[in-house]
């Protein structure tokens, strides 16, 4: 199976709202339509909020 590969643009992250990545190798169930780019700063702000117990 040839996987669909997505690479984020410079300064951006790929996300589907739950997963954040600089690079994605999609599983057979997944689709490029599930992902969009956001600025890394937005991702980092989300991380700070999310990791607190």
């Amino acid at each position: 199976m040839d996987r669909v590969i997505l690479n984020a643009s410079e300064g951006m992250m790929l996300t589907n709202g739950e997963i954040y990545a600089k690079r994605l190798e999609l599983g057979a169930w997944d689709s490029i339509d599930n992902y969009h780019e956001i600025p890394i700063a937005e991702y980092e702000a989300m991380l700070e909020k999310d990791v607190e117990v």
């Binding site: 994605l24 599983g27 991380l47 990791v51 117990v53």
Partner: protein
């Protein structure tokens, strides 16, 4: 033996007797704390910077009924024993959250029902981790950029072959770490063995 020699012998043994007593008390504490290896509620059990290698000395594998925050913010470097999540509800979160000192997670026993929300956030020094059982839900371990080839192999090897809709998020260094310890192209082969998973690199 005369009285003088007896006193000398007692004096010489004093420290040994003291240490033996201390060790016995320490073992008694850990046996009670771990219910002699029975299932325990591990919610925040070893959380916080007060937990260090010096005082963390489990006598048994840690079998959990729940484990949210089990090692969150701890300064322990090595779990030392197997951590068994197979008797939990599967919804535990933040298990190793901010476990920045961890270098070795000896063995995590899991099943397809185990979920991994924020389990490894900021585990930036983790090198070795082994899974037993199948990973059936999305897992993010991208903070751990020092993972060894064997750790990466254990993680990917444990991914369920049947679930769909799940993603494994790894450090961007995964492929180079794996291929440099094996042969170029081996990482792609490993990833190809799990076509039902999306691989994310962050």
């Amino acid at each position: 033996m005369g009285m003088k020699e007896k006193f000398i012998q007692i004096a010489e043994n004093e420290q040994k007797v003291y240490e033996a007593g201390k060790e016995a008390e320490y073992n008694a504490f850990w046996n009670a704390f771990q219910k002699n290896g029975d299932t325990v509620n591990g919610t925040y059990m070893f959380s916080g910077h007060g937990w260090t290698d010096k005082i963390y000395a489990p006598n048994y594998p840690i079998k959990l009924s729940s484990g949210t925050g089990l090692f969150a913010f701890s300064d322990i470097t090595d779990t030392k024993v197997e951590i068994d999540f197979t008797s939990t509800s599967g919804s535990d979160t933040h298990v190793f959250n901010w476990g920045q000192c961890f270098t070795n997670i000896t063995k995590l026993k899991v099943n397809e029902n185990t979920s991994y929300s924020n389990w490894f956030s900021y585990c930036i020094n983790l090198e070795e981790i082994r899974f037993e059982g199948k990973i059936g839900k999305s897992l993010d371990i991208h903070w751990s950029t020092k993972l060894s080839m064997m750790s990466l192999k254990s993680i990917v090897g444990a991914l369920s072959d049947t679930v769909t809709g799940q993603t494994i998020t790894l450090p961007t260094t995964a492929e180079s770490t794996y291929d440099s310890a094996t042969i170029s192209g081996r990482w792609k082969e490993l990833v190809a063995s799990k076509p039902n998973w999306t691989f994310a690199y962050a």
